[in-house]
Amino acid sequence: MDTARPTAVALDDATVAFRLANARVYTAVEKARLAVAHGEFVAIVGPTGCGKSTLLNVAAGLLKPAAGAVRIFDQPLTGLNRDAGYLFQADALFPWKTAIDNVAIGLEIKGTPRAKALEQAQAWLTSVGLGAFANRYPHMLSGGQRKRVGLAQVLIRDPKILLMDEPFGPLDAQTRQVMGNLLLELWTADRKAVLFVTHDLEEAIALADRVVIMSAGPSSRIIGDWRVELPRPRDIFEVRLDKQFHELHREIWGVLKEEVMKGYAQSSQAAGAE
Amino acid sequence: AAQSKVTIAVGGGACLCYLPTVLAKQLGEYEKAGLAVELVDLKGGSDALKAVLGGSADVVSGYFDHCVNLAAKRQELQAFVVYDRYPGLVLVVSPKHTSEINSIKDLAGKKIGVSAPGSSTDFFLKYLLKKNGLDPTSASVIGVGLGATAVAAMEQGQIDAAVMLDPSVTVLQGNHADLKILSDTRTQHDTLAVFGGEYPGGALYSTAAWVKSHEKEAQALTNAILATLAWIHSHSPEDIMAKMPDEIVGKNKALYLAALKNTIPMYSETGKMDPKGADAVLAVFSEGSPEVAKANIDVSKTYTNRLVEQAKTTGQGAK
């Protein structure tokens, strides 16, 4: 990591625990140490339920770690992370706003006049392929369409840090690539720190500067951190043909597969464990 | 001449006992006396009184006994014209219990309805019991109001007897020709028998301070009421009813007329307070309320006949 750039997000041995019934405690993430430099694109991959969303919540300031600290641009994070835009894993659109209003709100909050905000929102909807759906309420959109509105809602604000939780999950392979290229374009033009959670290892390698692997929970840890040295600018589809890509993929995949099987074994223990 | 505005709080405008106040308005007597009067109807006499003490009304048209009662609370109220010479309280036996109860003495241990605990009807009952040698607490008192609830409770025999006013009494009499009445202070006979003198019912009163500072208005009110009383006693009940507003007469005109006929003797002819009556009020209340008994009340301060007398001498009022 080139030390010249400031650290946008730093987790210093952050441990996150949840309170369960009967005063028991579930440690989701243990001593996670992660630093994302300004302008760096980091992908997080890990078995389901390992704590990826939890890490993003911590970086967003929505969850307080039980131990350890979070620094944003070298300042300790207290309260919400105002520099970050967060695309949630779950549906988080405002059901009472149309698609275009959902996107425009990101600007309106900053005080952009409504007419201008709407204009830009329409442009964003068009880039995510929903130009014709501007006046629909969220419940009239398909799963993938809602996700893309959410994407536009976050991107229009142009935040310095992007937290994205499976942003392309409910999209088909083609649309994924289009969206991935869109994201890369944006990121190249105006470098942001990106924390990108995905289940698609190929996607992770194709997009990111670094791929971080988490171990299966409980008490999951960061167990691997690979630099992706593929040249930029990349085209998401073409980069997959690169030899380096394949080597990296095989290497990470090996680690990951083992982790998932371990996690599966761990968390499927018979009842009574909890 | 510029009219002075006066707000009169009536303690339940539908009660026939307050008829002169309303009739005076219908006859235009207030205007003749140079007043613009607004009548505001309250649920009961004590609410009317509170409206005056609170300053939202000027004069109460209600039962005089509150003046005495409040004297114990060091609230100086003064009645200046009395339009009911009998209180009109009637102790009626429920038609369902006619056979068991023949006199007041039989009321021991019975359930007796009053309009509300702590009200004039309650005190009247206690006084009657005491006078008949019973312990005032020997009967259990149930608040049933003055209206349909009371009638329902009597009809169904849920209470054994009740102290009632008109028109409820007339309603019951209409339904039950053999209705047993133990004491009827709508009549001179029973009033004298119970209280030993005329017993003031409805009166106009206000705070002593108001009466003092609004001499002109008080006098005008007195004149208007006296004129109305004179009009009442010189006209037939039908004439009176014809003057009353529709919403007060209601649809059952026969009932209203019957009740009115029962009530007319109750209206004072002179507008004056009978000092014996005032003393009787104190006696009644001393019976029911230790607070009043202890308070050393000077009854003579709670009323004044001065305005009535002045009206007579100037010949403005009764002819």
């Binding site: 967003a60 970050a84 009472w96 909050i109 309420y137 | 709080a9 109807d41 609170g54 939202s56 009638v151």
Partner: protein
């Protein structure tokens, strides 16, 4: 069900109810009249009375006063309820401290407070409005308070991460999300606003439907009492329709039918 069919059903219900009422108050069943006319009057008399009120026009003055009181009570009470509800929901400490007092106040019998209202607000319309407000306020307050707390946490987090200030959250998240809670309470409180106004008049007034009802009661004119209550109810339906219109307008975003 089409609109026409619905209307037909509604009318049918009314007709059946009125017919039963008429029968029970006039025809003896099993040897006795089920609803003694002295307490229940009968629909024909009530209808007569209503017609008379409207044909002579006496009702308008009273109706206008009562409506005005009800509307004021409704508007003031629900605005206060919404404001305080939001405030409490957003200030959990304030809420925790005052919670028992609010609940205590809600349990005070308003009838007993009437003299105090008369003292503070006089015998005019304002003491009636005050009485109505004390009923409406609590109904709206409790619902808005709960409604704000029920906001979906994901949507709320999204609003916060988008950088919304407390005011913006209020406007863009809490308010729209709590709307259906609010409207539910408004439907309840329309009725209570009217009840407050009428009870207020009933306790002391110079005009209004409550006054009319009380006069009628005083002379055992049950037809008059029922007529007053009917006129009242009919107007509540009108106010409620207005509320429903606003509700429809504000809640367009809700899923309704799924497909053609």
């Amino acid at each position: 069900m089409s609109r026409a069919a619905l209307l037909l059903c509604q009318v049918l219900v009314a007709v059946v109810a009125l017919a039963l009422w008429q029968v029970f108050t006039t025809v003896p069943l099993f040897g006795r009249i089920l609803l003694p006319p002295f307490f229940f009057s009968n629909p024909i008399d009530v209808f007569d009375q209503i017609v008379k009120w409207f044909s002579t026009g006496v009702i308008w003055k009273h109706l206008a006063i009562t409506l005005w009181e009800s509307i004021l009570a409704f508007v003031i009470g629900s605005s206060l309820g919404v404001l305080v509800g939001f405030w409490f929901a957003r200030q959990p400490r304030v809420a925790a401290v005052f919670d028992p007092y609010v609940k205590m106040t809600n349990a005070l019998p308003r009838v007993v407070l009437a003299p105090i209202f008369a003292l503070w607000f006089g015998l005019g319309i304002w003491s009636k409005v005050a009485l109505g407000v004390t009923l409406v306020f609590f109904i709206v307050f409790f619902n808005v308070y709960q409604g704000v707390k029920e906001v979906s946490s994901t949507v709320l987090d999204n609003g916060r991460m988008l950088g919304m200030s407390e005011r913006q959250l209020m406007r863009h998240v809490y308010w729209p999300s709590a709307l259906s809670w609010m409207f539910s309470s408004l439907h309840t409180s329309v009725g209570f606003a009217v009840v407050g106004a009428v009870v207020g008049e009933y306790l002391g007034a110079a005009a209004g439907l409550g006054y009319l009802i009380q006069q009628a009661e005083g002379v055992f004119d049950v037809a008059g009492v029922f007529a007053g209550m009917f006129v009242l109810s009919a107007f509540v339906i009108l106010i409620d329709m207005a509320v429903t219109l606003v509700e429809r307008r504000l809640l367009v975003w809700r899923p309704t039918v799924r497909a053609l």
